[in-house]
């Protein structure tokens, strides 16, 4: 008898999404996916492309990896293989998507195809998958969680890109590059943390 996490009422999905997007935001609170964050938020074009790609990959990874964990690994007591299996699946899937996009839509490939290899080793994507397992979500909940995480990643990327573009325009030279990215991230982390009352300052 294959055991999977029990039934989750639909109302419980809303807190999951809010968690993924705000209180446990992947970039600002969980610190996942920072390397791509500081590199790509210099312009809103790249941020847009990366956000879309990440949301897509996160959702698809959740869809693919949940059955593998609950139907293949857990019944055979092979939970220790989860990291390597997830990585294999994510990396292969991303490579497949890159092939398809490169062949059928050169325009889409130029705008977001180059980010795909970056995402296969992105800690945010692997983090989503590992957290799904840790939190013991049902299949639907894990997909919703992954999608919410992607949305959370996207809004932070776009907001930071907006801030950094303005910083550059103001000619504040010291704050170009990574330093500006981190100060912008700090401002947003303060907003998220204090608004949602995660920690009392």
């Amino acid at each position: 008898m294959i055991e999977t996490p029990g039934y989750l009422p639909t109302e419980a999905l809303f807190p999951i999404v809010v968690d993924a997007m705000f209180t446990k935001n992947f970039l600002l609170v969980m610190f996942l996916g920072l390397c791509s964050y500081v590199g790509l938020t210099t312009s809103s074009e790249t941020s847009k492309g990366m956000s879309m790609a990440v949301t897509f990959v996160m959702t698809m990874s959740a869809i693919l990896t949940w059955p593998i964990f609950y139907y293949l690994l857990k019944p055979n007591k092979l939970m220790f293989l989860q990291t390597i299996c997830f990585i294999l699946v994510i990396a292969s899937f991303v490579q497949l998507v890159e092939f398809i996009i490169h062949r059928y839509s050169p325009a889409l490939y130029r705008s977001l195809g180059i980010y795909l290899p970056l995402i296969s080793t992105n800690c945010a994507v692997l983090g989503v998958v590992l957290l799904n397992v840790k939190e013991d979500f049902t299949y639907g909940a894990s997909i919703v969680y992954a999608f919410g995480a992607g949305l959370g990643y996207s809004w932070v990327m776009l907001a930071t890109a907006a801030i950094r573009e303005k910083l550059i325009m103001r000619g504040v030279d010291r704050f170009s590059g990574f330093i500006g990215a981190f100060f912008a991230a700090m401002m947003m982390a303060l907003i998220v943390v204090s608004y949602f009352g995660v920690v009392k300052l």
Partner: protein, 225 residues
């Protein structure tokens, strides 16, 4: 090109190729686990284990890895060591395992480990790969301890120094000293915002010092500025 030596490669990993401040890689665990000195220390030990193992193995089999599939092979090798250290921590150092959470399995996609495997261990001999691993690990350790100490000091008013020891047959990170300063702690430093702030300020300081050095060197060379 300067002659390579074991010691020189180690030192290079600490300063010239410092993983966080120069290569700007592996930021996720750096910011996430440096809420205290102890966590930083634990993470850097786990990281060092994985890096040493992966560099050693990758450079051992570098001649027979086909180029097209090298990244998946690196991932496989790194993943083995990561799973090992994960299980070791869970078994022998449960409090540290709890504290580090998912960041131990995430070492497998840590840009530093994959980066060094690709850029260094894949092209250099076993001895130098080990030297590189040692250097980068020391560099990473120093960075984590620095940020962890700052955040813990200003976030809780004191730094709790710990070290990996075996006391009464039980291995763990036991306290070996304490430094405290008489200020009201700013809890924000423990939060993510504090993490970003600390690393931004440190990078800013390094940039200012680096710029000044570069300007002085250019002036010495007589380049018109």
């Amino acid at each position: 090109m300067a002659e390579k030596s074991f010691v020189r490669e180690v030192v290079r990993g600490i300063i010239k190729d410092n993983p966080v401040f120069v290569l700007v890689l592996g930021l996720c665990p750096t910011l996430a686990v440096t809420t205290s000195f102890a966590n930083g220390l634990g993470m850097s030990f786990a990281f060092a284990f994985v890096l040493l193992g992966s560099n050693f193995f990758v450079s051992l089999i570098r001649k027979i890895i086909p180029s097209g599939v090298r990244i998946p092979i690196f991932l496989l090798i790194i993943c083995t060591f990561v799973t090992m250290v994960d299980m070791l921590l869970e078994a022998y150092l449960p409090p540290m395992y709890e504290a580090l959470g998912i960041f131990v399995p995430l070492i497998v996609v840590n840009c530093i480990v994959i980066g060094r495997a690709e850029a260094y261990a894949n092209r250099n001999s076993v001895i130098f790969s080990i030297a590189d691993a040692i250097g980068i690990s020391i560099g990473y350790l120093l960075v984590l301890l620095l940020i962890g100490s700052i955040r813990e000091l200003f976030g809780t008013g004191k730094i709790q120094f710990v070290m990996l020891m075996v006391k009464g047959g039980v291995p763990g990170f036991y306290p070996i000293g304490e430094v405290s300063i008489p200020i009201a702690p700013a809890t924000v430093m423990i939060t993510p915002a504090g993490a970003f702030f600390t690393i931004a300020t440190l990078m800013l300081l390094i940039k200012i010092i680096g710029d000044r050095k570069r300007m002085m060197q250019l002036k010495k060379e007589g380049v018109e500025l």
